[in-house]
Symmetry: C2
Subunit: 237 residues, 2 copies
């Protein structure tokens, strides 16, 4: 998902959002071996994002990767500025648990430790609040970001088929409408041949402050490009 901020009609700075867990398979068994030490400066994934952000002079909301820290594993999103520096780091607050017998069982808390803090950061594409996937189910987080002046909320995600059809569209639009801001989501594409029972829903989107779909993908691989016009927020409010 890429977006451009529009000021006075002319595209200026750009931003790119990646999906949840993009540096390795989303398999609870193998995730720990892909953990990277971000604070220790030993994260090849974040180093790559920093290099690209600096070279392209863009803001990157870097999806998430498993972060190893003090012997624990977090589901972590780094926001990187056009100077290549990490501007903020969000650790997924609400870990996903599902148990539908005969359909899907998934316990993220067996592997990850939950984060403790909301994350809001000023960037060249606006003031951004960060949530990771299941964080979108909690309206309080989005309301907190709104109260702190967020222009947009980015949710790197990986909804599955069970919750995707019922909730994905609804959650994105209601967070946008209830808080009168932009919501940007990025999901992996669906792999119909995946052996995992965690089949991805897809449908990365950019939603406007009135719930309008500005840009969206299907469930296949795609780059979604949309423009974020901050003046829409004031118009709506």
């Amino acid at each position: 998902m890429t977006s451009r901020k529009v000021a006075g009609g002319a595209p200026s700075d750009g931003g790119v959002l990646f999906q949840e867990i993009w540096n390795c398979p989303y398999s609870m068994e193998t995730l720990p071996s892909h953990g990277e030490d971000i604070d220790g400066g030993a994260s090849p994934s974040v180093s790559m994002l920093s290099e690209v952000a600096a070279r392209r002079r863009i803001t990157i909301v870097g999806g998430s990767i498993p972060e190893r820290s003090s012997g624990r594993l977090f589901n972590t999103c780094c926001v990187i500025g056009p100077d290549g520096q990490i501007k903020a780091k969000h650790r997924k607050l609400h870990l996903f648990e599902i148990d539908i017998p005969g359909d899907i069982t998934f316990r993220e808390s067996d592997t990850f430790t939950a984060g403790q803090e909301p994350t809001i950061v000023d960037t060249d594409v606006g003031r951004i609040g960060i949530g990771i996937c299941h964080d979108i189910r909690f309206p309080e987080l989005a309301m907190l970001y709104r109260s702190r002046g967020a222009h947009l909320i980015c949710y790197p995600s990986a909804f599955n088929m069970s919750t995707g059809q019922l909730l994905w569209d609804l959650m994105q639009k209601s967070r946008a409408v209830d808080n009168q801001l932009f919501v940007v989501t990025c999901s992996p594409a669906r792999d119909p041949n995946a052996e995992s029972d965690y089949m991805i829903w897809g449908h990365s989107s950019l939603i406007g402050p009135f719930g309008e779909v500005i840009a969206t993908a299907g469930h296949e691989e795609a780059t979604v490009v949309g423009e974020i016009d901050h003046s829409m927020i004031q118009t709506i409010r």
Copy 2:
């Protein structure tokens, strides 16, 4: 909109929800002349609802009527028990204002005074929170009702075409999903020949705690009947 509570699979007590402003046309010019003094016991509309509730042994969430009180006018919903007594009274909290040049202009606050209190009440069909129409746009009210143990929220409403298509479905489902309870709405039917520029959206619905549509109407006159199974709330949570 009528609903039955289901306990152990057998329908027991029933409830009926009416629309916003059902005792007179929704015209700001003529509304004041239809105001009724509910507290003074001089409301023919509420008397009629009480008589029906007692005769049918049902709970009635009586939509809303213009209530005259101390020289002011409120948009007021009475909840009436199977004994015919008024159990609760909700005055619309968030008055509706819209001004889209060339499309629709509407200022409810020119006529009505806003209520000051949320309303939650125990009835034979469950613990009910009340909101009137534009009140549904405010997630805080629904969250307050959830925190006070509501099983369902009733929103007598009258959305128009401008906001209906964008927001009606979204608002009902997100209040239900975010708070894991039932949402019941009742709207007037659409009159395509109405001379007013306030054209009604319609689509009264009963929504379950996972956002599922249990029963719904189109924009024509209809009675919507659905069953509310309280055990679904615990299953979802």
